[in-house]
């Protein structure tokens, strides 16, 4: 970064610093002072399984899209630790406000795979979650969910409920005024909200360095008057630890926090994108060495807590679950055309009854 102009004769009125959290390296070795839960092998295995399931689900979704049985779909290949690590730190009564690349978080929270497929297959029933009733559906307009998170958090604070809103977005969201407006108010009102930015370095074709001249995205919290940190977003232990700490602080009334989870988008932006148009295969290949699943597997193998048989069993189990979900999705007939009026308003106004009747006639014919 260019050194900003500063008149050295003037007194210093404020100083800021940022820290980076990382425990489990690409080498599969724990560094630094990991959190207590890092010694809980069962928990680590559950995180591994959740990331593997997310990846298997993504693969199936892409296969369905490529064969014309699903709409455009955004994979989260390489970013599974961000979603799984964050969601696994939440309590059931917290509220998740995800973006479109947080499938792993939704799955952890109890959204069903067939629901996610229904959504991307073009059916509103995919957002009528049977699991986390108050979680928001994923937001496709970038960063527009950030102010919803502030509003949800305001409701928690007003009612004195010890709950936290967790808002997930990508690096592109930090370029939007919406995110600044939401963070700014969250700071002022000291809201129980945690912003998690999965910095996968690419907003479709625009690289991180063209999004902002800031050295980090975490530092955007500083201007909003609250704390932020950068974590290794491919280290699920670091993501979970950072989120746990931020959630505990928010629950205790200490206000918002911003976590920049540094990761890498190994896949295309969506199935409608071809990343080879704007980045080299060498760049992507190099990043594969840092992906989150292999390093956790290596760690568990090193601890003799995971072996070849476990891996094979997990793969076939993921496969079975994903296939079952796909079958259930594909067997779900579309809603009746007139259902587009069923939830437009609490009660359909008289003015639109005729239009609904027209659709009812069309479906009868």
């Amino acid at each position: 970064m260019n050194k900003p102009f500063m008149d050295e004769e003037l007194p210093v009125i404020a100083r800021f610093e940022l820290r980076r959290r990382a425990y489990l390296g690409p080498d599969g070795v724990l560094h630094g002072r990991p959190p207590a839960f890092a010694s809980n092998v069962d928990l680590l295995i559950s995180l591994l399984r959740a990331m593997a399931l997310t990846r298997a689900f993504d693969l199936k979704a892409v296969a369905l899209q490529r064969t014309g049985r699903l709409g455009t779909y955004p994979v989260s290949l390489g970013e599974e630790a961000v979603s799984v690590g964050a969601a696994s730190a939440m309590r059931e009564e917290d509220v998740l406000l995800p973006s479109y690349r947080n499938t792993g978080a939704q799955l952890w929270r109890g959204v069903k795979m067939e629901e996610i497929l229904l959504f991307w297959g073009g059916d509103e029933r995919g957002n009528a979650f049977s699991g986390p009733k108050q979680d928001f559906p994923l937001s496709i307009p970038v960063a527009s969910q950030t102010s919803h998170a502030a509003g949800v958090a305001y409701a928690f604070k007003l009612r004195k409920e010890p709950r936290v809103a967790v808002c997930m977005s990508g690096d592109g969201a930090t370029s939007k005024g919406d995110m600044w407006e939401a963070m700014n108010f969250a700071g002022v009102a000291k809201l129980p909200v945690v912003f998690i930015v999965g910095n996968n370095q690419w907003a479709i074709s625009v690289p991180r360095k063209l999004q902002t001249a800031s050295e980090t995205l975490a530092q955007k919290a500083i201007a909003a008057g609250f704390g932020g940190e950068q974590v290794d977003g491919n280290d699920v232990i670091a993501v979970r630890a950072a989120t746990e700490r931020a959630l505990a602080a928010a629950r205790a009334g200490e206000g918002p926090f911003l976590i920049e989870a540094l990761t890498y988008r190994l896949g295309d932006h969506t199935t409608a994108d071809d990343a080879a148009r704007y980045r080299s295969p060498e760049e992507v290949q190099a990043r594969w060495k840092e992906e989150p699943i292999a390093r956790l597997r290596a760690y568990l193998v090193g601890k003799k807590a995971w072996g070849k048989e476990d891996e094979e069993r997990l793969a076939s189990e993921c496969q079975a679950r994903v296939e079952a979900a796909a079958a259930s999705y594909l067997a779900t007939p579309p809603r009746a055309p007139s259902s587009m009026f069923d939830h437009l308003y609490a009660e359909l106004p008289h003015a639109y009854l005729g239009q609904r009747r027209e659709l009812e006639g069309a479906s009868d014919a």
């Binding site: 108050q134 559906p137 502030a150 509003g151 407006e181 002022v188």
Partner: protein, 326 residues
């Protein structure tokens, strides 16, 4: 019965809604200590506390988005946008989220929110303070758009908007905030949200308008009466969904219709009403439907705003024209 101006009636309705329902919260720029730049929220923060009457940062998109988040949690937020010209950043939140949260989750999450904004010209305000963008909002499925034209209707319609389980945009005509006082009984009674009001009965021509333009429209009706023409005046009050049956019933009676609005002509809400009459009421028409509207020009600065806005003369001339048509 006590008298109140339109802005005082808004204040009465807000106070009533907050007293009746602890889930109602107000938010916006300067709505707290200052009581709003038009004083619509005066006294409410001291009465209900700064937790429920929230001075937000200067962030219109935020106000829209906060309302969505709060409403999804079961609060009933009433956001204020200071002027219609600053409303546009909120349209993203209204079109992409507020209006469709119920539908996209099949009712799992809902959005019982109100966004209030003063709108319209005629108060010699600076640039960007005089717009009438109601048609843009009325084009968004899933919203309600409500515009009062008198203190008593402001009271009853705002209470209805706040109690409604879906998002409502409530546009308050700035020009008549304090123009008249009328009897407003603070009885907590709401008015229906999709029923038009017949302000004056007539036989020869139907004049349809909403908001501040009803003053000129009623004055034109008076002028026409002196010339022997009997004009029926309808206050549409709710643009989305609007009371098509009231419009068609009146046109069936008079056979002639003039629609009056301050907003620009092309794609204005008058076009929707004219289309409805053409589709469903053509047989009863004795003359073409005419529109008297603002021009398809950028809202001028105050020196020319009176030339932009429909006048009593323009409305009366259009009515005479349709009455003379054969």
């Amino acid at each position: 019965m006590p008298e109140a101006t339109l802005v005082e009636a808004v204040n009465l309705a807000l106070a009533r809604a907050m007293a009746d329902d602890p889930d109602v919260v107000l938010l916006g720029e300067d709505v707290g200590v200052n009581g709003g730049v038009f004083r619509a929220t005066v006294g409410l923060q001291s009465r209900f506390g700064s937790d429920r009457v929230i001075d937000t940062p200067l962030s219109e998109a935020l106000i829209g988005g906060l309302c969505v988040g709060m409403a999804a949690q079961g609060l009933k937020p009433v956001g204020e946008i200071q002027f219609m010209g600053f409303f546009y950043p909120c349209i993203d939140q209204l079109a992409n989220h507020a209006s469709r949260l119920r539908n996209r989750t099949l009712g799992r999450l809902t959005c019982p929110m109100v966004l209030r904004a003063p709108f319209g010209a005629g108060i010699r305000a600076p640039e960007h303070h005089s717009e009438s963008a109601e048609a843009m909002l009325a084009h968004i499925p899933g919203l309600r758009v409500v515009i009062p034209s008198s203190p008593d209707r402001a009271y009853g319609l705002l209470l209805a908007a706040i109690r409604d389980p879906d998002p409502v945009v409530f546009l308050e005509p700035t020009r008549i905030y304090r123009a008249v006082k009328a009897e407003v009984e603070d009885n907590g009674e709401a008015l229906p949200l999709d029923v038009a009001f017949v302000l004056r009965e007539g036989r020869d021509v139907t004049l349809i308008s909403w908001g501040a333009m009803l003053r000129e429209t009623l004055a034109a009706a008076e002028e026409l009466a002196a010339e022997g023409m009997s004009a029926e005046v309808i206050d549409l009050a709710t643009l989305k969904p609007y009371d098509e049956e009231a419009v068609l019933a009146s046109v069936a009676k008079t056979g002639r219709c003039v629609i009056v609005h301050e907003a620009a002509r092309t794609g204005g809400f008058g076009a929707e009403i004219a289309a409805c009459i053409a589709e469903r009421g053509l047989a009863s028409l004795l003359a073409p439907v005419l529109r008297v509207t603002g021009y398809d020009a950028v809202m001028p600065l105050p020196r020319l705003e009176q030339s932009y806005m429909p006048s009593v003369e323009r409305i009366a001339a259009a009515a005479r024209k349709v009455c003379a048509y054969n």
